[in-house]
């Protein structure tokens, strides 16, 4: 009984922390000044946010097949997330999107 209570608590803390990171990413997307810095902000949502939420769900589940699927999802997010981000960033770089420097106006 108490073991499942501990699991619930751990799961809750992880889910809340993940949610906080997801929101931080969204706020950063709005607040940061240019394309590249915004990608950094969304990176938090992508990595820490999604990772902690999946980890929290992992502590929540009791069946093996669900756990295996969650781990697979985590693995595929780690593989596909940065690839897509890099594709965006490289396209922007090649297209000559201006890199914002400290002191410039936000665009």
């Amino acid at each position: 009984m108490s073991a499942s209570l501990v699991a619930e608590l751990v799961s809750g803390v992880l889910l809340a922390a993940g949610g906080l990171f997801v929101i931080s990413g969204g706020v950063g997307l709005l607040r940061f000044p240019d394309f590249y810095t915004r990608i950094h902000a969304v990176g938090i949502t992508d990595s820490a946010g999604a990772g902690l939420i999946l980890l929290g769900l992992l502590f929540h589940t009791t069946s093996w097949d669900t756990a295996v699927r969650l781990v697979l999802i985590l693995l595929f997010m780690v593989l596909t997330g940065p690839t897509a981000t890099h594709a965006l960033a490289q396209a922007a770089r090649r297209d000559g999107v201006h890199v914002w420097r400290e002191g410039e106006r936000r665009r």
Binding site: L20, F21, S24, G25, V27, G28, R31, F32, P33, D34, Y36, T37, I39, H40, A41, G43, I44, D46, S47, A48, G49, G51, D65, V68, R69, L72, V78, L79, G81, P82, T83, T85, H86, A89, Q90, R93, R94, V99, W100, R101, E102
Partner: protein
Amino acid sequence: MVWMLRLTLPLAGFWLVLSGHYTFLLLSLGALTLVIVTWIAWRTDTVDRAGVALHLSPRLPLYLLWLAKEVFLASVAVSRQVWSLRPALRPAVDLTPVGDMSELSQVIYANSITLTPGTLSLTVDDNGVEVHSLKASDIGELQAGEMHGRVRRLEVR
């Protein structure tokens, strides 16, 4: 024909694990999907490179744990910038060398850089990875080479 098995068997296993519903309708739909995916892979001629990911080092789990720690610390740092009243952003772009890494290691290295919030890989070639970061010291840390060394040690000889 060997490539076909090397592609379809893992895909079939993957589909079965993800599905979990073993009725005739769903199994036949899965088989149909497999045929279409294999046909696309054959048409686009991307099959040879698909096998690379299977030569993975036994050190990979350890590396992923270390990377998870780095990602978490970096996420906290960037989140603090997000919520601070006046974010102190000093973006920098610079090159971090890849040395004589194999192509696969270059991919792992560049993707690890991107996965870590605060650093972003822009272009990758034999000269190195061009990195955009929220502060110059992040690139300095990459150039110091801890992540580079860890990725390098993943290579199987």
